[in-house]
Symmetry: C2
Subunit: 163 residues, 2 copies
Amino acid sequence: MPAPRRKTETVEIETPEERQPVSLGLLDNLLGYRLRRAQLSVFQDFLVTMKEFDLRPAQFSVLAIIDANPGLKQSRVSEALGINRANFVALLDELEQRKLARRAPAPGDRRSNALFLTAKGEAFLKDAYRHLVAQHEKRVETVLGSADKQQLLSLLDKLTTLA
Amino acid sequence: MPAPRRKTETVEIETPEERQPVSLGLLDNLLGYRLRRAQLSVFQDFLVTMKEFDLRPAQFSVLAIIDANPGLKQSRVSEALGINRANFVALLDELEQRKLARRAPAPGDRRSNALFLTAKGEAFLKDAYRHLVAQHEKRVETVLGSADKQQLLSLLDKLTTLA
DNA sequence: TATTGTTATACTCTATAACTATA
DNA sequence: TATAGTTATAGAGTATAACAATA
């Protein structure tokens, strides 16, 4: 039994902790702010989940687009993802060095590259996605509920038509 | 009446436009991807709307937090916004140079700064917010519907508890 | 010893201009 | 002339380490 601490227990509350909660003020009604915070949380969870695969969201998105559209030209892949073509080069270089994707000559246009996943890349993407669904999307649906997730996706798509 | 174009109208379709739509593949079901695209659209619209005020989202958020919590310590403002304190310094410097915010000695702790808006800063924030609601949030509610906006805010907050 | 504000630094993302080889 | 891929470069945003002043 611990010694009862009574006597000089007037601890003079060293930490009055003026920890009143911080008000969001005008921010509270701004969609952009709340959207940004949510997005950062979701990306953070994605990063943790994909750490063992060493795969960032942008890298995953490139693999997924190539997988779904094999042979697509490099410029169209970057355009579909909203990544400018200059910045796309290094991103693709890394995936190619890891032997997950490859550039091939595009039939009928020697300026272009047609992009493909390697066999390793296909297997890797499948594994990563499985892990993502089992861990990351699982957690998302735990806080959201699965009906809410579909509702949310639909609302988000409306916003994407804004700009 | 325009001349009927018939004869050599075998234009040899110079642009066969293999513009089949790009499939999103696995991305289609990933919340993070759709969330990110929506967030970028909303921020883009915010930027355009605030261009005449020369105010970025992070700057607006700092002004709003100080306005709602006058005298709050610098470290707590940056913490509330998830901005690390080293990076917060330059952000605040700029707002102070524009005479919108000011650092004051914090009562009872000579290490800390208490932050306040200037009179100019208060008026500026009010104007910016009014303009934002009239233009930006108006457009948001046009694509969303106002009931959907509240629903969306609630769903986003659930996600923010993730990480 | 720990915390606040600060500087310095580095790494990622993003944006623009310009080059080359093709079309 | 225009387009695809590329390089170089600059600007944001973000993260860590370390220091001085103060607690």
